[in-house]
Symmetry: C2
Subunit: 479 residues, 2 copies
């Protein structure tokens, strides 16, 4: 099957455009692609005519060309006819938006079976049914929510594949925009009658140059496809992250009515993911943190040396004792540790700060420069820590409330990291007025997080990346 | 000791005002209170003169009145002199901002001992040293960070007591503003040489009418004061929440250099807190969620019946199957459960929604009305669930991306809850354009959260509140 036609179509047609109801999914999809996206789009309506000045065609075989992709947004019982049209006309890819298939039980299962037969017989890459389709900026967007309602993520390296359209649009698109994670292509697989997570893993891993990280929201693997998925994941050069919903007993039942899939034994699942070098985050927040970091490391201009974090040895530099205490508490939870400083190191650090901080600050790890710290103190200590080899990563907790910390601090830190290339993860509170500091760091590709826990998660993501990278390298080399 | 003079002074004086350095803590505190707060404030400067047109006095005994409170923001070695002045002049309360006491070791411990002696001999309520003092809007604010740098929380029912000034200003003030939790008084206790967490618990619990929830960030109890604290907590009518930093081994050492306190055995600590009806949240986010809910329930106008949640039985109403699945997964973690619907209930719910949702929606728990839901469907099902007695709380997951959900949905839900009084917790993504919906719910005191996990935490907070309330009631009644 040619998945490229699904994700990079030159032309597409939309069926299910209502002339009366401005909120009909087909109409929203048609107008969105016509006016906002670059793909060539044709609208199909049994009566022809036009919509907002754009010609509608009565039938698929009236179109001036055979489109690469057909989007079907009509009730389930009349959907099959259009799938058959794809087979007859040679349309290679198809997205079915509507529900009313395997997720509703017997009647729907039979209906979905018919659809699968046509697809496999005629080699049509069908996405769905019961899905919201594909988002790939600037080319196409088949999400049937009105543009003014949704948030669109920035462009980047993450391919995003979700068994739930709602989770894709809300938990991912919205959060990805908020914390600046870039997406190459987003795919809602719905009932995954034909195109499934395994085919997508293969496609994004091997064929899509834009993608270097692949993230999944799944409620279980498609039947008999898990082995293939795991094997592909192990061989992939991309970072692969899966978040599973429906792992509790109640969740499993909820899953069943949602997308008619069943997740298996959780411990076996977790072990299999681990063995096949697939990351399974503990929470959605952790998933987002990992993706944010990996997306940054997939950029051409790297902020620091990557895949260097073997032991998890961290130095914490804070402007508040309490923040340091909380941070060091969290380190343990993530299998990281705070390095010990020698007396010589402590003395040298003390020498490099202003007299008040020298007197009241603390130079153990976590270092507490207190609210009396100045830009130069933070800069000097960061520089100093960058030169200590056994420190694999610095966690910098910037509290810009301190009167003598200026808004230059972001650029000043970025400059040090640009020279030293020592991994550094930053925490800064997410307050609009500190946007300048955050922006300066992000423009230099330094990962910035807005909770202490996420900053620590990012360090653990760095360690995990090194580990997976090294295993994959060894696997490739053999003995 | 008269803590009222510390938190509700009619007049205060500030020592440590620099005429040259606009960022000196004393100067920031003086000008902040002079121009922004309602307390009568006097500035002390050895040369007298004036600052921004406001007269400075050379000595404390030059002042036209004996102030209720003295704020000292000068180096440690000259601080004692002013504390002695308090004793000599009869100033009943004092805040010491500067560090250089017990947290720096021997020399500082001796210095702090002197200060304690004067305080206890002369009954002076000293806050600190090594602290940022008190924030109580609109009366006074001794936080030495410039106003334009910090975020101030709204006014409300939570007294906030922190051993770390940084944690107070950042993790609490900032987050409290963001998620709208109201503060009565905030206190940074620093080294707590004299005024400690136990005295504050007693004061806020018994004497402060504005406060009905008391939250602590501590890195351990003050030596020999734990028993007293626990006893007071058990008797208090307020909800008491403590978050402990420094509970890991490394954290303990970090704590020691931070505020010179040592936390004991964690399991013993947790058990003691539980027995004394003190809530110990698992994370900062959980603490914030609890406080948000309790602050709402402390308002005069309650959104729903409180202290009714005995079993933890929940109904989940979602517009996205995936959100329902994730929510039901999280329930278990918090000791809650999704009720089972009878066939009759499922059928009746189906009857009350539009035909598309009736066909493709799921009416098990979690209920999934899908992206085809309209306002009326959400309204009808919420109303229906409100009438089922065994449901103790509804979790409503509103996804306003769905084309047929209007921005009226907030008011419509608020109206149902106003009549039915069934507890309802709402999840809505935190996106500016959905502010209208969020605002409508919050104005009606319905708790709104922006992650599914926080919504579930809020339900568990409701259950915990019922439990603690009932135990306290029984304790009071006896047998």
């Amino acid at each position: 099957m040619n998945l490229k036609k699904l994700f990079k179509p030159e032309s597409m047609a939309v069926v299910g455009i209502s002339k009366k109801n401005p909120l009909s999914p087909g109409r929203i999809i048609f107008l969105k692609n016509e006016f906002e996206m670059t793909v060539k789009v044709y609208g199909i309506h049994p009566e022809g005519g036009n919509l907002e000045g754009v010609t509608l065609y009565k039938r698929l075989d009236d179109l001036p060309e055979i489109p690469d992709l057909l989007v079907i947004a009509i009730p389930a019982d009349v959907t099959i006819k259009y799938v058959q049209d794809c087979a007859d006309l040679g349309i290679p890819a198809c997205i079915i938006i509507g529900g009313g298939f395997s997720e509703i039980g017997n009647e729907g299962i039979i209906r979905q079976g018919k659809l699968e037969k046509i697809a496999f017989d005629s080699d049509i890459a069908i996405l769905g049914p019961n899905c919201i389709g594909v988002y790939s900026s600037p080319l196409l967007d088949t999400i049937f929510m009105p543009t003014e309602r949704i948030t669109r993520p920035p462009k980047g390296s993450v391919a995003l594949i979700s068994q739930s359209g709602g989770v894709l649009v809300d938990q991912f698109f919205h959060k990805f925009s908020e914390i600046n994670i870039g997406v190459s292509t987003a795919v809602s697989i719905g009932n995954r009658a034909v195109v499934d997570e395994t085919m997508l893993l293969e496609y994004f891993s091997k064929e899509d140059k834009e993608t270097s990280n692949i993230a999944f929201y799944l409620e279980g693997f498609k039947l008999n496809r898990a082995r293939n998925f795991l094997e592909l994941a192990k061989q992939s050069e991309d970072m692969i992250i899966t978040f599973f919903g429906g792992l509790t007993e109640k969740g499993k039942r909820a899953t069943k009515s949602h997308t008619a899939s069943l997740s298996g034994d959780n411990r076996i699942l977790s072990a299999a993911l681990k063995q096949n070098l697939i990351i399974q985050p503990d929470s959605e927040i952790e998933m987002l943190t990992f993706l944010k970091l990996y997306n940054i490391l997939s950029r051409k201009k790297k902020p620091f040396e990557e895949n260097m974090m073997i032991y998890g040895n961290v130095a914490i530099l804070s402007l508040s004792g309490g923040h340091g205490v909380i941070c060091v508490d969290i380190l343990k939870k993530y299998g990281l540790s705070a390095v010990e400083f020698t007396e010589k190191e402590r003395d040298e650090m003390k020498e490099s700060v202003n007299p008040v901080v020298r007197y009241i600050g603390s130079f153990n790890n976590p270092i507490d420069l207190t609210g009396s710290a100045q830009d130069e103190d933070v800069e000097n200590i960061t520089q100093y820590l960058s030169n200590i080899d056994r420190i694999e990563c610095i966690i910098l907790l910037i509290l810009p409330y301190a009167p003598s910390i200026s808004f230059q601090i972001g650029r000043r830190i970025a400059n040090i990291i640009a020279q030293k290339k020592k991994p550094l993860i930053c925490f800064i509170p997410y307050i609009q007025k500190y946007g300048l500091i955050i922006e300066a760091l992000e423009l230099s590709n330094i990962p910035v997080f807005h909770s202490i826990e996420e900053a620590v998660q990012a360090v653990s993501a760095l360690k995990l990346r090194t580990k997976i990278h090294n295993i994959k390298k060894e696997l490739k080399l053999g003995y």
